[in-house]
């Protein structure tokens, strides 16, 4: 979800950029950056993102991932699912 959201916000982005963005915005979420890549492969299979090679900011070849309409739909599904879970958790915490 985080990857999809990042792509939705920033537009096409390479793997390093996605990892940087997630770390910078969340600050507390520490993940193995490399695990991003198996995740991206799975999204490629599902057809949520597409990938193509392009020029990075410092003029190097980098693979840019782009959100597809299918991926956008998946993002909204996941966000609403996440919100539902969050609401449930919030309710439990509040009543305590």
């Amino acid at each position: 979800m985080l990857v999809l959201k990042t792509l939705a916000r920033l537009g096409p982005m390479h793997g390093y950029g996605i990892a940087q963005h997630i770390q910078q915005t969340s600050e507390i979420l520490q993940v193995e950056e490399g695990s991003l890549y198996p995740a991206l492969q799975r999204m490629l299979i599902k057809g949520w993102v597409t990938a193509e090679w392009g020029q990075s900011d410092n003029n190097r070849r980098a693979r840019y991932y782009r959100l597809t309409p299918l991926g956008r739909k998946q993002l909204s599904v996941e966000i609403s699912e996440f919100e539902r879970v969050m609401q449930a958790i919030t309710r439990v915490i509040q009543t305590a």
């Binding site: 793997g15 390093y16 950056e33 490399g34 695990s35 492969q41 299979i45 090679w53 693979r63």
Partner: protein, 865 residues
């Protein structure tokens, strides 16, 4: 749709995996470099995680990991099989043999027994039959009655056995098989002519213009596929016929006729003979059982309406398709069973070989398992190797099958009810694929069980070859089983070979060696002019007798072993002397000398028995025994054309003939059957006989010389059916020879496999027991006693298999009874022969390992420990 897209992407990955992998690698490197620039190389690597593991996970995401692993297995399997090329060759050939033979048999079984006949709804076709009576066919009045009154069939038609006729084509004559069929024949089969129409009722009236339908083959080959052929007039045996239609391409019917003629009521005695087959189509929704009930009722009312006419047994309905297959069904299943047995033996043999190999590879397996490979993973590796063996064997077998199938179909002594050539098609390929997988599982079973029980620790602990090696108990069982299965095939072969031997020992009643035969079909003029025919026969006989190299020449109406007749003949004054119907042969003087059939009493025909001389006749021993028993028939009288006191042929004008001699019995129809009652009359005294003659020539003479002689006697006649008398005799034993060869080959393969099995097991056992044998010899055992010990082991195995096999073979032998001649299924000689052959094979197969055991050097064996 999404799933499909996903699959498409996965497949894309599979085909462009190099690109994908380099992409991933470059992308990860990019990531690391960027990170290193921002945070330093160590931190970058720490935060990124295990790159190798991650890229592996990425690859697995595409879902081809198991394929990868399998490809690895396959590569390893190929290498392992390549390394043991001897083992691989034996295994692949064994499987190829089993699979090839089964593929051939299945192709035939499928084409003949499983595939429907080439008519729409072929299972709804029935026929009228008398299952219990000898004559299974109907007569014309019955056919007409059933056509009129049966309500359970939508249409019904009659047809007769095909008959060769000469199609006159200007300067040459082509022999075509014509079949007479009634109206509604094609309508019943639901087949439409590709040109013109089928026969109408007006075509079948006695005086109607003669009509003919051509087969697609005849139309294309002889008439060049002329689309305007309907209405054209063709000449058959000198008579004009109008072509009314052409049968569709791919049309097939029993005996594959070349042309159809309308079946006419002739208004003569022929209509009353049960000589017509019937085929009918059940109405939709009507069951065979209902048709049977109706046919029984119709038989009853038919008999009531025509009490005087006949006492034919009642008619019943049976499936046409089942009836057509009836003859070959049990034989084909039997052959299929035998080939399945062969495959089973091949599997057993291979299982034994694999067990031996597994024993040799135990160290490797234990090592792999110790290094963390699961038992399942190891077994998968073995299964891959075995599957590779089977697939290779299957491929070789399939290639062999494609090559063998044509020959098999050509040689097989049964008619195959199918229009198409029997060939390998997708169904057959699927069957072959099925047996490849099935056999792999089968022959992998025993090795699997053994591998499963492998104790890694124990195996690795023991060093040297002495301790290692699995128990040979499973292998012994396999060898015993294999031997038992072989016994069945060897017994079948023994019975077949003995049948063939008995057939060849049958007394023919004539000497076929050095005799050539040919036929002179009638020319159109001869057919119209009996005097000319007689002159031609006389002229040709004289010319043949004068040919250089000819010792004797004569003519006979029908050659022995070629046909069966059914002629009314009566012992004058004894209407109760009754064979039902007899053989009559018209011969020229000198026939018996030419074929060397002895005259056992009285004299043969000679020049005295001319046209105007007192009418004479010869009878064979069968007739003499039945009609005169001990008395002499000479001087007594016989009437031709008369049966139970009634004259049946009005056109022969026969008077009683005097019996002047008795001729030795000759085989009439086939070697298996007893000679039929036969009378011989001089051709000169039967002016009413207007058939073609067959000529027998004893001596050294070329086909060209014969051809020229016939042409010299009459330019309008061309001889045909030139063959030696020995060929005629051989053609009647085709089926027995075929079965003897086939089962002989099966038995040979089975014995070879059994020998390999016994040899393999003993060789292995000797190698394993080297130390033991060495010790025994060091302690004073003689070479002889060691030899005896190993031989005893081999013989014990063979003997156990033999006992088991003989017990099982009793049932099998009974099912062979139909194919046997002159030998009982439980023939003690055959059983003894089988036992002898198998024990010999066992002995020979044990001898080599036993001899190796005696060569064990005690010093060396013990030092090895």
């Amino acid at each position: 749709m999404e799933r499909f897209d996903e699959l498409r992407r996965r497949l894309m990955f599979l085909f462009r995996r190099r690109e994908f992998e380099s992409d991933l690698e470059e992308e990860m490197r990019f990531h690391l470099e960027m990170k290193a620039r921002d945070a330093g190389p160590d931190a970058a690597r720490r935060q990124f995680g295990n790159a190798t593991l991650l890229s592996e996970q990425s690859r697995e995401a595409w879902g081809w990991a198991s394929l990868d692993a399998w490809l690895g297995d396959l590569k390893y399997a190929t290498r392992m099989l390549g390394k043991n090329s001897g083992f691989t060759a034996v295994a692949v050939l064994t499987m190829a043999l089993g699979i090839g033979v089964n593929t051939v048999m299945f192709s035939v079984v499928y084409a003949v027994l499983l595939r429907s006949l080439p008519y729409p709804d072929a299972s709804r076709l029935i026929r009228a039959a008398r299952p219990d009576a000898k004559a299974d066919s109907v007569n014309m009045p019955e056919l007409a009655f059933w056509k009129e009154h049966s309500t359970s069939v939508s249409s019904m038609a009659g047809y007769r056995d095909p008959w060769p006729h000469g199609l006159n084509l200007g300067d040459r004559t082509e022999t075509v098989q014509t079949m007479e069929v009634s109206t509604d024949f094609l309508r019943t089969l639901q087949v439409a002519p590709q040109i013109g129409r089928e026969f109408q009722p007006e075509d079948t009236r006695p005086k109607a213009p003669r009509a003919v339908m051509l087969s697609d083959r005849l139309w294309r080959q002889t008439f060049g596929g002329d689309h305007g052929i309907a209405g054209r007039v063709v000449t058959i045996d000198g008579v004009a016929y109008t072509v009314v239609g052409v049968l569709p391409a791919g049309f097939w019917f029993e005996n594959a006729p070349d042309a159809l003629l309308p079946l006419r009521f002739t208004g003569t005695i022929g209509d009353l003979g049960s000589n017509t087959q019937s085929v009918a189509r059940l109405k939709p929704g009507v069951s065979l059982a209902r048709a049977r009930a109706e046919f029984a009722a119709l038989s009853e009312s038919y008999r009531r309406t025509r009490p005087a006419q006949e006492n034919n047994p009642p008619l019943t309905a049976q499936s046409y398709q089942e009836w057509l297959r009836g003859d070959v069904r049990s034989t084909l299943w039997l052959l299929f069973g035998a080939s399945a047995l062969l495959l089973l033996i091949a599997c057993t043999n291979l299982a034994g070989l694999l067990l031996a190999r597994l024993a040799a590879r135990q160290k490797e397996v234990a090592m792999r398992m110790a290094l963390g490979s699961g038992a399942g993973r190891v077994l998968r590796q073995f299964l891959t190797e075995n599957l590779l063996l089977s697939v290779l064997g299957g491929a070789v077998g399939l290639a062999a099958a494609a090559w063998l199938l044509d020959g098999f179909v050509r040689l097989a002594p049964f008619k195959l009810p199918s229009a198409e050539r029997i060939h390998l098609d997708w169904t057959v390929l699927a069957f072959t694929g099925g047996i490849v997988i099935g056999t792999t599982l089968l022959f992998s079973l025993a090795p699997f069980v053994n591998a499963w029980r492998l104790n890694v620790y124990e195996t690795l602990k023991t060093s040297g070859r002495s301790g290692a090696g699995g128990r040979t108990c499973t292998r012994s069982l396999l060898v015993v089983g294999e031997t038992a299965l072989s016994v069945a095939l060897v017994l079948a072969a023994a019975l077949m070979i003995q049948s063939l031997y008995r057939l060849h020992r049958q007394r023919l009643g004539f000497d076929p060696r050095g005799v050539v035969t040919f036929r002179t079909p009638l020319s159109p003029q001869q057919r119209r002019n009996p005097a000319e025919l007689r002159a031609f026969n006389q002229d040709l006989l004289e010319r043949l007798q004068m040919l250089p190299g000819v010792r004797a020449a004569a003519a006979v109406s029908l050659l022995p072993l070629t046909s069966q007749g059914n002629f009314p003949v009566e012992h004058a004054g004894h209407p109760d002397h009754d064979f039902g119907g007899m053989e009559i042969r018209h011969v020229t003087p000198g026939y018996f000398e030419a074929v060397r059939t002895p005259i056992v009493l009285g004299r043969g025909f000679d020049a005295r028995d001319a046209e105007d001389a007192p009418p004479v006749i010869l009878v064979n021993e069968t007739v003499a025994r039945a009609w005169w028993s001990q008395a002499s028939p000479l001087g007594d009288r016989v009437v031709i054309g008369r049966f139970r006191g009634k004259d049946l042929s009005s056109d022969t004008h026969e008077t009683p003939r005097e019996v002047i001699g008795v001729v030795a019995d000759t085989k009439t129809v086939e070697l298996k059957a007893a000679p039929r009652p036969t009378v011989y009359v001089p051709l000169a005294q039967t002016s009413w006989y207007d058939g073609s003659m067959n000529w027998v020539v004893r001596g050294n003479v070329t086909a060209t010389a014969l051809d020229r002689t016939v042409a010299a006697a009459s330019p309008a006649v061309r001889m045909d059916r030139l063959r030696s008398m020995e060929e005629i005799v051989a053609s009647t034993t085709t089926d027995s020879r075929f079965y003897a060869w086939l089962f002989g080959a099966f038995a040979g393969f089975a014995l070879a496999l059994t020998a390999v099995g016994v040899y393999g097991l003993l060789a292995f056992s000797v190698a394993r027991r080297t130390n033991e044998i060495g010790t025994r010899m060091a302690l004073g055992a003689s070479r002889g006693s060691v030899l005896a010990m190993i031989l005893k082991q081999g013989i014990a195995l063979t003997f156990a298999g033999l006992l088991l096999g003989l017990a099982g073979a009793v049932g099998l032998a009974r099912s062979l009874a139909k194919l046997l001649f002159g030998v009982r299924p439980l023939d003690p000689v055959s059983f003894a022969a089988v036992a002898g052959v198998l024990l010999c094979v066992g002995l020979v197969a044990s001898y080599l390992p036993a001899r190796r055991a005696t060569r064990v050097d005690p010093m060396e064996a013990l030092r090895n420990e």
